[in-house]
C-alpha cells in the first residue's frame, strides 16, 4: 500500500515541482507570482486544446507552454509596464484564467462542464522495459508520464540557471536591488518580462501534466489550488530549488495520502490543510530564528 502511495506521490509532486520552480524564478526576479494557478490552468487548457486539434503530443506540450506564456504576458504587461500591484494582478489573472477557459469552452466548442473529447491523445506512460521486473523500483516508476521525470530535471536546471548562467545572475540581481541592477546596465524590465515568461512556461508544463497525464480532460477547476500549494512549497523551501523540491514531495505525499486515507477513517479535509499550516508554521519559525539571531548579535556587542 505504501508503495502505491509513494508512486502516486511522484505523480502528484510533478505539477507542484514545475509550478514551484517557475515560482522561484519569478521570485528571484523580485516578483511574487500569485498568478501561478492561473498560468497552470491556462497551460492545462492549451495542452488539451492543441492535442485535440493536432493529435500531436509534442505540439500539445508547446501549446501548453504557449498558452501559459500568453497569460504570463498579461501579467507582465500590467505589473512591469503599467506598474500595477503585483498581488492584485496575480489574483486577477487567476480569476481571468478560470473565467476565460470557462467561457471559451461552451462558446467555441459547445462543451458543458469538462472537456474530454474521445480519443484525446494524452502523454502516456513511459514504458518501463526491463525495469518493470525490479521489485520496489519497478512499482515505484511505472505508469509515469515523461513530464514526471522532466520535473525532476527541472529542479536541477533551475538551480543551474539561477546560479551559473549570465541570465540567472541578472535575474537575481534584479530581484535583489533593481536600482543597482539598472545602474550596472542590466535591462531590468526585459529581465522581469523574461523571468515571468519562463515561470509561465514551466507552469504551463505543470498544467499539461494535470490535463494530459493520468486523466486526459480539461475542467476549469482542475488546478484545485495547486498553484498556491506550489507557492507554499517555495516559501517553505526558502526560495531555493533544493528545499522547495523536498517540500513538493512532502506535499505531493499529503495529496496522495488524502485519497487513501479516507478508507482508514481520517478525514481528507484535515489532511488537505497540512501543506498550508506547515507553511505558516515554517514562515513563523524562520522569522523567530531570524529575530533570535539578531538579538544574539546585538547582545554580543
Amino acid at each position: 500500500m505504501l508503495l502505491n502511495v509513494l508512486a502516486s506521490t511522484l505523480d502528484s509532486a510533478t505539477p507542484l515541482l514545475f509550478a514551484a520552480m517557475g515560482g522561484i524564478i519569478a521570485q528571484q526576479a523580485g516578483m511574487l507570482n500569485i498568478g501561478i494557478e492561473g498560468m497552470m490552468l491556462a497551460g492545462a487548457f492549451g495542452g488539451v486544446l492543441v492535442s485535440y486539434l493536432t493529435g500531436s503530443v509534442p505540439l500539445a506540450l508547446l501549446g501548453a507552454m504557449g498558452t501559459a506564456m500568453l497569460v504570463g504576458l498579461i501579467f507582465d504587461f500590467f505589473v512591469v509596464t503599467l506598474r500595477a500591484n503585483l498581488i492584485v494582478v496575480g489574483l486577477a489573472i487567476n480569476i481571468l484564467a478560470v473565467g476565460a477557459t470557462g467561457y471559451i469552452l461552451p462558446v467555441a466548442f459547445n462543451v458543458q462542464g469538462a472537456f474530454a473529447p474521445p480519443g484525446l491523445r494524452g502523454l502516456g506512460a513511459v514504458p518501463m522495459g526491463w525495469l518493470a521486473g525490479v521489485p520496489v523500483l519497478g512499482r515505484l516508476l511505472e505508469g509515469h508520464t515523461v513530464l514526471v521525470y522532466l520535473s525532476w530535471i527541472s529542479v536541477f536546471v533551475t538551480a543551474l540557471v539561477l546560479r551559473h548562467t549570465v541570465w540567472g545572475i541578472r535575474v537575481r540581481a534584479v530581484g535583489e536591488d533593481p536600482e543597482a541592477a539598472r545602474a550596472s546596465g542590466i535591462p531590468v524590465k526585459s529581465i522581469q518580462y523574461g523571468a515571468i515568461l519562463m515561470c509561465a512556461a514551466i507552469a504551463g508544463l505543470a498544467g499539461a501534466q494535470l490535463s494530459l497525464g493520468e486523466l486526459t480532460l480539461f475542467n476549469k477547476a482542475m488546478t484545485g489550488g495547486r498553484g498556491f500549494i506550489a507557492l507554499a512549497a517555495f516559501f517553505f523551501g526558502g526560495f531555493r530549488p533544493s528545499g522547495t523540491a523536498v517540500a513538493c514531495f512532502v506535499f505531493g505525499f499529503f495529496e496522495a495520502l488524502q485519497y487513501r486515507v479516507q478508507q482508514i477513517g481520517i478525514p481528507p479535509q484535515l489532511i488537505e490543510t497540512l501543506p498550508y499550516i506547515s507553511v505558516v508554521l515554517a514562515l513563523a519559525s524562520m522569522q523567530i530564528v531570524r529575530a533570535w539571531r539578531r538579538r544574539r548579535a546585538t547582545n554580543a556587542q
Binding site: L82, R83, A84, I95, L96, L105, P106, A232, A291
Partner: protein
C-alpha cells in the same frame, strides 16, 4: 464623489473591453448588456436579488478595505467569513431555546469573535515577526474552508443529509425577509449599517486615524508615536470581525444552516470591491451593488441564454486589472513626488 466617478469609469471601461470579447464571440454586446441590466435591475424582485447578492460583498469589501487602509494586505477575509459563518450557525442551532432577540445578536457576536480570532494569527505574525501577511492570510483561507468542511462532514453533519451541511438553525434565528419576491433579508440592512460604522471609524476615530497614518506612511506614523504593531493587529482584527459578520449574515439570512463551501469566493470579490472603491467603506456599498448586479444578472443570463456565467468572471478580472493600474499610477506619482521633496529638503 471622486471615488464614485472612479468606480463608474473603471466599470465602464471594463464593460467596453468585455463588449469586444462579446463581439468576437459573435454576440451583440447591446443585447447581452441589456439582458444583464434587466436581470439585475429590471423589476423589484430582480433589484432585490441584486441587493441580496451584494450583501456579503459589502461585508467582505468593507473588511478588506479597512485592512488595506492600514497598508495590510489582508486577503484572508474569505477565511474569516467561513469561521464566522460556522460560529453563527453553531450558536443558532445549539442554543435553540433562546428568544430571537437574544439568539440573533449572540450569533452575530459569535461570528464576530470567530472572524476576529481567525485574523489574529496572521496579524500577530505580521506585527511582531514581520511574516508576510499575503501568504499567511491567503493560505489560511483554504485552511478555514477545509476545517469547516471537515466539521460539517463529520461531527456536525446533519443526520440524513446528502451534502455536507449542518442541521438547520432555530427558526427564530432566521433573519426576516425584506421583500416577498426575493430572499433579500435584514442582513442587507446590517451590512449597510456596518459600512456606515466602518466609515465613521476610519474617518473620525482615533483608531481610524492610526490606521490611515500607518497605511500612508509607516515611518512617519511611528515618529508620531503611533504603536505600529498594535495598529496592524487592530486593523486585521476589525477586518476579520467584519468578515465574520458577513458569514453570519449568509447563515442566518440565506442558507439557514452551515453548508460546506457556501461561498463562491465572496472574500475574493471583496478585494475587487475594496479596490474599486479605493478602500472607502461607503464606496464599497456601491461597488458591492455593481458586482452583485453582475453576479445576479449573470446567473439569470446563464439560465436563459447559453452565455456562461464565466463572462462575469472575465469582466471582474478586467475590472480588477484596470482598477489596480489606476491605483498604481496614483501611488507611483505620490511616491515619486515625495522622493523629489525629500531630495530637495536634504
Amino acid at each position: 464623489m471622486r471615488t464614485l466617478a472612479r468606480i463608474l469609469t473603471t466599470f465602464a471601461t471594463a464593460l467596453l473591453v468585455d463588449a469586444v470579447i462579446l463581439i468576437v464571440s459573435g454576440r451583440s454586446p447591446i443585447a447581452v448588456y441589456g439582458l444583464l441590466w434587466q436581470q439585475a435591475f429590471g423589476s423589484t424582485s430582480a433589484f432585490a436579488d441584486t441587493l441580496l447578492n451584494a450583501t456579503p460583498l459589502i461585508f467582505t469589501g468593507v473588511a478588506t478595505a479597512l485592512a488595506f487602509q492600514a497598508g495590510v494586505f489582508n486577503v484572508g477575509v474569505e477565511g474569516s467569513m467561513y469561521m464566522g459563518a460556522f460560529a453563527a450557525a453553531w450558536v443558532a442551532f445549539t442554543l435553540t431555546t433562546l428568544p430571537w432577540w437574544v439568539l440573533i445578536p449572540l450569533a452575530f457576536l459569535g461570528s464576530a469573535v470567530a472572524g476576529l480570532l481567525w485574523a489574529l494569527l496572521p496579524a500577530v505574525l505580521k506585527a511582531y515577526l514581520q511574516v508576510d501577511e499575503v501568504v499567511t492570510t491567503l493560505l489560511l483561507n483554504y485552511v478555514a474552508i477545509d476545517i469547516t468542511a471537515y466539521l460539517v462532514t463529520y461531527p456536525f453533519l446533519a443526520p440524513g443529509a446528502a451534502n455536507s451541511m449542518s442541521v438547520p438553525i432555530a427558526s427564530q434565528a432566521e433573519l426576516p425577509r425584506l421583500v416577498a419576491s426575493s430572499q433579500l433579508n435584514a442582513g442587507f440592512l446590517v451590512a449597510v449599517a456596518v459600512a456606515i460604522v466602518a466609515a465613521w471609524l476610519i474617518r473620525r476615530s482615533v483608531l481610524g486615524f492610526e490606521i490611515r497614518s500607518l497605511g500612508q506612511n509607516p515611518w512617519f506614523a511611528r515618529t508620531m508615536g503611533i504603536p505600529l504593531a498594535r495598529t496592524i493587529v487592530a486593523a486585521m482584527c476589525v477586518s476579520g470581525l467584519i468578515g465574520g459578520l458577513g458569514g453570519a449574515t449568509q447563515v442566518l439570512g440565506v442558507n439557514y444552516r452551515f453548508v460546506q463551501g457556501f461561498s463562491p469566493g465572496y472574500g475574493f470579490d471583496g478585494i475587487t470591491v475594496a479596490l474599486m472603491a479605493n478602500n472607502n467603506p461607503i464606496g464599497a456599498i456601491v461597488g458591492a451593488v455593481l458586482i452583485g448586479a453582475l453576479r445576479n444578472g449573470g446567473t439569470t443570463m446563464q439560465l436563459f441564454t447559453n452565455i456562461p456565467l464565466d463572462l462575469v468572471n472575465v469582466l471582474q478580472a478586467i475590472v480588477i486589472l484596470l482598477v489596480t493600474v489606476n491605483v498604481g499610477f496614483r501611488i507611483r506619482s505620490r511616491g515619486w513626488r515625495r522622493k523629489q521633496e525629500a531630495k530637495t529638503a536634504s
